[in-house]
C-alpha cells in the first residue's frame, strides 16, 4: 500500500487463462500426448492499474468478456494475478455468489449461520447480527422453515441480507441489484448507500449503468483487458453507450451487406462532446435554449424561466407517434431532472415531417455548469434520436444558498 488512504491498489495486473482445445485431465492422455500442445494462453487482463480510496465507490463497466468480472474475482482472491500486484486493506465481503453453501434441508436461520460463517464471521458476530439480518430479509414468518420451501425471490432475499450485513470494509458486488421485487431492490439500494456513508469502499460490476451513476464517484470502462476510460460515471457511460451503438450498427451493416443506418453525425447545433444514438428515422435539426422573449441564451439565473426549443425532421412521418423528452445533468454527472411528453400529458404525439417542440420550465437549479440531453422515442420504445450533452448551460445566482436545487423557503418565527 503506497498510499495509506487507499483501500485498494491494483498495479499492472495481468491475467491469462489457459484455454484447452480438448480438455482432458486423465492419465492416458497425459502420457500419450505429453508433448502435444493443445491449449492456448488467452490474456484476459493486459495490465490494469487503479486505486480506490477508503470510502469511495467505483463501477466497472464493459461488454461481456472484457475482463471486468475477472478483475472482481482477482479482488475477491478467487483468482490470482499472473503479473502485477493487488493490495487491499480491511475485511472484504463479496456479493458475487449469493447464497453460497445454502443447504435446502436446513432452515433459514441455520442457513444464515452457515452462510455468514463462510464470510468469516464468528458465532458471536453472527448472533449479534441475526435479528437485523432476519428483519432486513422480511422473512420473519418463514425463518424456521427449510429453505427448500422458499420461493426463489425469498431465497435471494435471505442470501442478500446475510451478505450485506457482514460489515465489511470493502464490498465487491457483481450484478446483484436484481434481487426480489421493486420494493426490495429499493431497500437494497438504500442499504448500499447507508453502508457507503459509513465509509465502506465499494466496487460494483454491472450492466445497470444507472445504478453505478447513482452510487459511484468513478467509473472504469474496461475493454480488451485494458482500462479504456475512467472518470465521472455519467460521462464515461455516454461514451461507452455510443461505442456500443456504433458497434451494433457496424454489425447490422455487415449482416445486410449495405449500410442500413447512416452513422449519426454531429450537426452544428451540438456541443463537441455530444454523443448521438438512435435509428435516425426522426432527427433533431436544431436545439436551443431561450429565455421567455425567445432570445438564445446560455446563462440563466436560478428561478428564471427557461425554454428548450427543438426542431426535428422525419423522413417518412406517416402514422409515426412519438415521445419527446429531455434530461439535465450537472457537470459531475448528477442526474438533476428528466421528463417527457408521455409523463406530462399521458399520451404520445403524432410526428410531422418537420416539427417544433417547446418546453418551458422554471429553473430551480443552483449555480453550476449543466448538460442537456434530448431524445425522441417511438411509442414502442425504439430510439429514433438521442443526443447526450447536446447543449451545455450555466446557472448563476446572487443568493448564497447551497445544494442541488432551490427549495423556495419561507422562514417564519414567533
Amino acid at each position: 500500500m503506497t498510499n495509506p488512504e487507499n483501500a485498494i491498489e491494483v498495479k499492472n495486473v495481468r491475467k491469462k487463462f489457459r484455454i484447452f482445445y480438448d480438455k482432458s485431465n486423465d492419465l492416458k492422455d497425459r502420457i500419450l500426448f505429453r508433448n502435444r500442445n493443445h491449449y492456448e494462453d488467452r490474456w484476459v487482463l493486459n495490465g490494469i492499474s487503479f486505486s480506490v480510496k477508503k470510502g469511495e465507490a467505483i463501477g466497472l463497466i464493459g461488454h461481456n468478456g472484457c475482463g471486468k468480472s475477472t478483475t472482481l474475482k482477482l479482488l475477491t482472491k478467487i483468482l490470482y494475478p499472473d503479473e502485477g500486484s493487488i493490495a487491499m486493506q480491511g475485511r472484504v465481503s463479496s456479493l458475487i455468489e449469493l447464497g453460497a453453501g445454502f443447504h435446502p434441508d436446513m432452515t433459514g436461520r441455520e442457513n444464515i449461520y452457515t452462510n455468514a460463517s463462510i464470510f468469516g464471521l464468528t458465532r458471536k458476530e453472527i448472533q449479534k447480527r441475526i435479528e437485523e439480518i432476519i428483519e432486513f430479509s422480511e422473512l420473519e414468518e418463514f425463518i424456521d422453515n427449510p429453505v427448500r420451501t422458499y420461493s426463489s425471490g425469498m431465497y435471494m432475499r435471505l442470501a442478500f441480507s446475510v451478505a450485506i450485513n457482514v460489515d465489511a470494509n470493502i464490498l465487491l458486488i457483481d450484478e446483484i441489484l436484481a434481487v426480489g421485487d421493486a420494493n426490495f431492490q429499493k431497500k437494497c439500494f438504500d442499504k448500499l448507500r447507508e453502508i457507503k456513508s459509513r465509509g465502506t469502499t465499494i466496487v460494483i460490476v454491472s450492466h445497470a449503468l444507472g445504478q453505478i451513476e447513482q452510487i459511484c464517484e468513478t467509473s472504469y470502462w474496461i475493454e480488451n483487458g485494458l482500462i479504456r476510460e475512467s472518470g465521472i460515471p455519467k460521462i464515461v457511460h455516454d461514451h461507452y453507450l455510443k461505442h456500443m451503438e456504433d458497434k451494433r450498427t457496424e454489425q447490422l451493416e455487415k449482416q445486410h451487406e449495405q449500410p442500413v443506418l447512416p452513422a449519426p453525425e454531429l450537426p452544428g447545433f451540438c456541443e463537441k462532446t455530444a454523443v448521438r444514438m438512435g435509428t435516425q428515422q426522426v432527427i433533431f435539426t436544431n436545439a436551443e435554449l431561450r429565455n421567455l422573449n425567445n432570445q438564445k441564451q446560455y446563462i440563466f439565473d436560478t428561478e428564471q424561466e427557461i425554454k428548450i426549443f427543438l426542431q426535428y425532421h422525419a423522413e417518412h412521418p406517416v402514422n409515426l407517434k412519438g415521445n419527446f423528452g429531455y434530461g439535465i445533468f450537472r457537470e459531475d454527472g448528477l442526474h438533476c431532472y428528466g421528463t417527457n411528453i408521455l409523463i406530462e400529458t399521458g399520451d404520445y404525439i403524432p410526428i410531422q415531417e418537420n416539427g417544433e417542440i417547446e418546453i418551458t420550465f422554471r429553473n430551480f437549479l443552483l449555480p453550476a455548469r449543466y448538460f442537456l440531453d434530448i431524445a425522441v422515442h417511438s411509442h414502442d420504445g425504439i430510439i429514433y434520436d438521442d443526443i447526450r450533452q447536446v447543449l451545455s448551460f450555466v446557472i448563476s445566482s446572487k443568493k448564497q444558498d447551497i445544494g442541488v436545487c432551490r427549495l423556495p423557503s419561507e422562514f417564519s418565527w414567533r
Binding site: L27, I78, E97, A100, H103, T114, S117, I118, G120, I126
Partner: protein
C-alpha cells in the same frame, strides 16, 4: 504459515458449521437419524463376532474385539483419505464463487470423520468393558495422543490429495485402489507378528498407519501403554505428512478456481 493459522482461526465458525452440516446431513431424512452413527458400528461388531466365532474361527482370542479396535481407526483414516481427496472438488461452487482459506475444506471433512470416530468409540468402550478385557488407565491416557497423531496423518494426506485431485481427476480412482491395498499392508486384520521375517516387519513400519494401528491395539486390546518408539514413529509421520500436505496445497490452491 502463521498468517494461515490466524486466518483459519478467524474462519473457525465455518469449519464448525461445515462439520455440523456434514454430520447432520449424513443421516438426514432417515427415521433413526443420528442414532445410525451408533447402530452402524454396533451391527458391524455383531456380524464380526458371529462370523469369526462360527464361520471362520480365528486363533486369536476375542478376535472380534481384536479386529474392531483396529478397524474403527482404519475406517476413519481411509474415509478421510478418499472423501478428503474429493473435498475441494465437491465444493466446486464455493471455490469458484467466494473467497475463504481453501484449507478449510479438507480440514472440515477430516474433522467430521474424526468426530464420527470419537462417537463410535463410545461403542468400543462399551464392548471393551463388556468383553472383560479391562482397561488400563495409563494406557487410556495415551489414547488422545495417538488419535491426534492419526488426525495429523489423515489431514496431511487429505490436503495433499485434495489439491492434486483438482488438477488430476484420476487421483480419486487411483486412491480407492490404493486404500484397498493399504489395509492389507497394515496390521488391521492380522497381528504384525504374522510377518515372521523381521526385516520385512521393519519395512512395514515405513507405512505410517502401522505404528498407529499397533498403538491403538496396545491400548484397547492388550490394555498396555504403547511403546514409546511406536508413538515417536507415528508422530514423525504425522508431522511430515502435515507439512508435506500443506506445502503442496498452498502451492496449488491459487489456481483451483481456474481449472474447476
Amino acid at each position: 504459515m502463521i498468517k494461515l493459522c490466524k486466518e483459519l482461526y478467524a474462519y473457525r465458525e465455518m469449519i464448525f458449521s461445515l462439520v455440523r452440516k456434514d454430520l447432520r446431513g449424513r443421516y438426514k431424512g432417515s427415521v433413526l437419524g443420528f442414532l445410525w452413527t451408533f447402530i452402524n458400528p454396533l451391527f458391524q461388531l455383531i456380524i464380526y463376532t458371529i462370523a469369526f466365532s462360527f464361520i471362520l474361527p480365528s486363533a486369536i482370542e476375542k478376535y472380534y474385539l481384536y479386529l474392531f479396535v483396529a478397524l474403527i481407526p482404519w475406517i476413519f483414516f481411509s474415509s478421510s483419505l478418499q472423501g478428503g481427496a474429493n473435498s475441494v472438488m465437491a465444493s466446486q461452487n464455493l471455490v469458484t464463487k467466494i473467497y475463504f482459506p481453501r484449507e478449510i475444506l479438507p480440514i472440515s471433512y477430516v474433522t467430521s470423520c474424526f468426530v464420527n470416530m470419537l462417537l463410535t468409540f463410545i461403542i468400543i468402550f462399551l464392548v471393551v468393558a463388556v468383553s472383560g478385557v479391562g482397561m488400563n488407565l495409563q494406557a487410556i491416557f495415551c489414547l488422545p495422543v495417538i488419535m491426534l497423531i492419526e488426525y495429523m496423518i489423515a489431514l496431511g494426506l487429505a490436503l495433499l490429495f485434495s489439491a492434486v485431485t483438482v488438477f488430476f481427476r484420476d487421483m480419486e480412482h487411483i486412491l480407492s485402489i490404493i486404500t484397498m491395498a493399504w489395509i492389507y499392508m497394515t496390521p488391521v486384520l492380522y497381528p504384525i507378528e504374522t510377518i515372521s521375517n523381521s526385516e520385512i516387519q521393519k519395512l512395514f513400519y515405513l507405512n505410517p498407519m502401522t505404528s498407529v494401528i499397533v498403538a491403538y491395539r496396545d491400548i484397547l486390546y492388550y490394555a498396555k501403554v504403547p511403546d514409546f518408539s511406536t508413538l515417536l514413529i507415528a508422530l514423525f509421520f504425522g508431522v511430515t505428512s502435515l507439512i508435506l500436505g500443506e506445502l503442496v496445497f498452498s502451492r496449488l490452491k491459487k489456481r483451483f478456481a481456474e481449472v474447476m
